[in-house]
């Protein structure tokens, strides 16, 4: 059994902290009694060695990019260069305060300002804010800008259009901004159904939120016409950058007609996912929307960087300070290291790897959409399901082979969906091995189905009872009554 920090005991005298220079009672006298804590927190007591061992052993129970192939569709689990960790950990960047005088933080402001320019260049937008902390935070920012824009035009807009293949954050962000969400259908080719879109476009539509390539991994070929229709109806076009790894150096959302773009630096620009964050979700806009960006913008005059003093039309602030600086600097260094050729190499290799895998897997799985894909693709385990094994079972069985599971049951419009994104950093050898693992699992369905149905067998725990977890929530450790910790 995996013991909790609360269930282990060794000496912890916190001697890594300096000694108190006054007696405790003298210190506490400075605060009236009624403000003081009455109960002690039931914290663990562990020596430094035991803390190190505990968390090191926990880490070994994780799959990660550093240890495993991680073809998790829509998440861009690429290699995160270690040099970026070192740079982000340097005292010049970690030991500075957001409220220092501008002249004392010119280095940090330079990084942020140049990053705004880099991202504008890569996406074809006019200006960027780096404030949003993650993709969904970026969506929130973009939709607030959408609202501010329409208000400035004295237009009342109530709806946001979202394709039925979209991520859940899109409708959730729209709801947070008070919009009614209207779904746009996907056609048989896996693209936004232009006819359906046109029938839903009217003067109540604030914007259309899209990814391109879409969540099926397909490039929206009619994007120029889509943009024209949305603009003609008085709406804005919003780009969800979840799939930007397909487009770097190849084409730009700004040129397609998108008015607002958010990027996920933790996908395309190599910020490690950190088991679920921190990410960074910068937002770029076209000229006519710059005035609405969150305050403060970072500007440059001659060699001096500074914060914009006033921003009367700004949507305000989305978080304290200026964004996830430690994540932004990683991406900044990544873009500098790669340079223009390296950036093009991202998407070229991501697209090549994905199409190669798709070609190889055609003989094993149903492919609901046959065109060339971009950086990822969705296959269907529907024929496997007929033989008694679901996408979920295959996903779990992959874990036994040391491969993290693809995204499954998403997008919602594909039956038994498995969404696979190999990224540009994986080798052909790894991809070939992945194909052969999937082939073996497919054969196992007929030879030894229980093996697949009961997978995983080699992970620290077997299939987890999620229903029990939700029905009887145990969300924290509680010390047993009367126990002394």
């Amino acid at each position: 059994m995996s013991e909790l920090i609360f269930e282990k005991h060794s000496l912890n005298d916190a001697s890594w902290l300096p000694k108190l220079e006054e007696p405790e009672a003298a210190i506490l006298k400075r605060v009236p009694k009624e403000y003081l804590r009455k109960s002690e927190p039931a914290f663990p007591s562990l020596s430094e060695l035991d803390v190190v061992r505990h968390f090191t052993n926990l880490s070994r129970k994780n799959f990660s990019v550093d240890t495993n192939f991680y073809p998790l569709g829509s998440c861009t689990m690429k290699y995160n260069p270690k040099s970026l960790d070192s740079i982000a950990s340097s005292t010049s960047y970690t030991q500075i305060h957001p409220y220092q005088d501008e002249e004392d933080i010119q280095g940090a402001l330079k990084v942020l300002h140049e990053m705004q320019l880099f991202l504008s260049d890569i996406t074809g937008m006019d200006e960027f804010t780096l404030q949003p902390a993650a993709g969904a935070h970026g969506e929130f920012c973009g939709l607030l800008i959408t609202g501010a824009y329409h208000r400035s035009k004295k237009q009342k807009k109530t709806k946001v259009l979202i394709p039925d293949s979209a991520h859940g954050t899109n409708p959730a962000s729209a709801a947070l901004c008070g919009y009614e969400v209207v779904q746009v259908l996907t056609n048989a080719k896996g693209h936004v159904d232009l006819k359906d879109l046109k029938s839903k476009l009217d003067d109540s539509v604030a914007c259309l939120m899209m990814t391109n390539p879409n969540t099926l991994g397909l490039f929206e070929e009619e994007i120029l016409e889509i943009a024209q229709c949305v603009h003609k109806a008085g709406g804005l076009l919003y780009y969800d950058g979840a799939n930007m790894n397909a487009l770097v150096g190849i084409c730009r959302p700004g040129d397609m007609g998108f008015d607002i773009v958010h990027l996920n630096l933790h996908k395309t620009f190599a910020v490690p996912h950190g088991s679920g964050g921190p990410g960074s979700g910068p937002v770029g806009v076209k000229k006519n929307l710059v005035q609405f960006l969150p305050a403060p913008r970072i500007l440059k005059e001659k060699d001096r960087y500074f914060f914009e003093k006033t921003a009367p039309s700004s949507i305000g602030k989305l978080r304290s300070f200026y964004g996830n600086f430690g994540a932004i600097i990683r991406s900044y260094a990544y873009i500098k290291a790669l340079g223009v050729e390296g950036l093009k190499g991202i998407s070229e290799n991501a697209i090549l790897n994905a199409n190669y895998l798709k070609t190889k897997l055609k003989s094993i799985f149903e492919m609901p959409y046959n065109d060339f894909c971009m950086h990822e693709f969705v296959l269907s385990a529907s024929s496997q399901k007929k033989r008694g094994v679901k996408a979920l079972d295959i996903a779990k069985r992959l874990l036994d082979h040391g491969v993290y599971a693809p995204t499954i049951y998403f997008p919602l419009i594909v039956d038994e969906a498995m969404m696979i994104e190999p990224t540009e950093t994986e080798s052909k050898e790894t991809l070939d091995e992945f194909v052969s693992i999937l082939r073996r699992i497919d054969e196992e369905i007929d030879k030894d189905p229980q093996k697949v149905l009961n997978a995983p067998h080699t992970t620290p725990v077997g299939r987890i009872d999620e229903v029990a977890a939700a029905r009887h929530p145990n969300l924290r450790f509680k010390p047993p009554q009367g126990s002394v910790l």
Partner: protein, 443 residues
């Protein structure tokens, strides 16, 4: 520099297998006019050159290694033991995704559960989520939760709450159909009389930051009672380090307790990334935003951890979710959990005492200087404001000359508060630091 693993030969073989002559054939469906652009980004460089360049850029920042920070206002210069980063930067933590496949993510999931447990103990609240973006957005989400819970539409927010937090709450509530009522301050704390007058049947929640932006301890117990008597919730925004000695929000009856997790093992890093913590009373559990890890069993009965209560979240509920949050600040929260574990029961109290002692000794010495006067007579924790009747620019020059960063000139956020400065003093400040500071202010 490139991080590609395929050789030219591999690529050729892959194109052949796909059955196309060149890469261009794979993207032939992208309209021609979209392909016509040149990036302005310069050519790539080696890791060695990158290192050198970022090092040069970094020299244009005055950092805490060579300068002495007396600046806080939401981010604090605490000591971080080496263990924290050594563990959190392990590839298995830093390069893993959100633990959706529980069986392959037990390390992250158990550490999330332990983080939640630690935060509940620290705040004396019932439940915690796995983290939010930062303190400010946690506070905003807390206000949204209070509004979601019933029909009431007003949020009372004191002027003593961090000005940037107030701005973020305003942004988040733009479309919530609610009204934010500002409670003015008196003697550095929120004006209780004004609060009493503002409490009515339509108030969903009262926000209190404690210690507040000025470092001052608010009368949390009384504010809590007043809010509850009016049928409103209390949202407490707290400094986690202060809870080593100060009454935790659970003890004075807060319904939601949030705050900035940075002081727990995360470096200041120019304001981010850090994490927001979010804790609640039991009855609010199923309405809270963000991810939660739970303990359960696998099919053979072994203890296991998994993301749970996901029916609240955007990937399941879409537009009906309790929040749009997806990626949070997991790694920063992990650092928080490791840091709190290293502190243990003895350490959390000791840390708070060190801060309390250092801040008060600094305050006492500053007040002995001619022209330095109290800002308020209310109690404080590790941050305080004083009035310094000296020329603003001369004071600044002197502080710089003595390698002091800060204090925060309160005029930045409160134009009416002239000659008032906010000092933060953590366990890191030494006697020599203090001598430097005194010389600088006394010059």
């Amino acid at each position: 520099m490139q991080y590609i693993s395929n050789t030219e030969k591999d690529k050729q073989e892959m194109l052949t297998a796909i059955g196309v002559p060149s890469f261009e054939s794979l993207i032939a469906n992208i309209p021609k006019r979209l392909r016509d652009f040149e990036l302005k980004i310069p050519a790539g460089i080696s890791e060695l050159e990158l290192d050198r360049e970022l090092d040069e850029t970094g020299k244009r920042n005055k950092n805490f290694k060579y300068y002495i920070p007396y600046i806080g206002a939401g981010n604090y210069d605490h000591f971080i033991p080496a263990v924290v980063d050594r563990l959190a930067l392990r590839g298995e933590f830093i390069t893993a995704y959100t633990p959706y496949q529980g069986e392959a993510s037990q390390g992250t999931l158990q550490s999330m559960y332990e983080y939640q447990s630690l935060m509940c103990e620290l705040t004396a609240m019932d439940y915690s989520n796995a983290s939010m973006y930062d303190g400010a957005s946690s506070l905003a989400e807390a206000a949204l939760l209070a509004l979601r819970f019933g029909e009431r539409k007003k949020i009372l927010m004191p002027e003593t709450v961090h000005p940037e937090y107030r701005a973020v709450v305003e942004t988040y509530l733009s479309y919530a159909g609610s009204e934010i009522v500002t409670i003015p301050m008196k003697n550095g704390a929120l004006d209780l009389d004004h609060l009493k007058k503002s409490l009515d049947q339509n108030v969903a929640a009262v926000i209190v930051q404690h210690p507040n932006f000025f470092g001052i301890l608010e009368e949390a117990r009384e504010i809590s009672d007043l809010a509850h008597r009016a049928g409103a919730m209390l949202i407490a925004c707290v400094n986690p380090v202060s809870l080593g000695v100060l009454q935790p929000p659970g003890e004075y009856g807060a319904d939601i307790a949030v705050g900035e997790g940075q002081p727990l093992g995360n470096s200041v890093s120019f304001g981010g990334p850090h994490f927001g913590f979010f804790t609640v009373k039991e009855e609010l559990l199923r309405k809270i935003p963000g991810r939660i890890a739970g303990m359960t069993v696998d099919k053979t009965g072994r203890r296991s951890f998994v993301l749970t209560l996901q029916a609240r979240e955007q990937h399941i509920r879409r537009e009906k979710a309790t929040s749009n949050i997806c990626t949070n600040q997991a790694l920063c929260a992990l650092k928080g959990a490791i840091y709190l574990t290293l502190l243990g029961k003895t350490g959390i109290k000791k840390l708070a005492l060190l801060n309390l002692s250092n801040a008060h000794r600094t305050y006492e010495r500053l007040l002995k200087i001619k022209g330095v006067k109290p800002f308020s007579d209310k109690p404080f924790f590790n941050e305080f404001a004083v009035r310094i009747d000296k020329d603003r620019d001369a004071l600044k020059v002197n502080l710089k000359k003595h390698r002091i960063l800060g204090p925060l000139d309160l005029q930045k956020f409160y134009p009416a508060l002239r000659s008032s400065y906010l000092f933060a003093v953590t366990e890191k400040r030494t006697g020599e630091d203090l001598d430097q500071l005194i010389q600088a202010v006394d010059a």
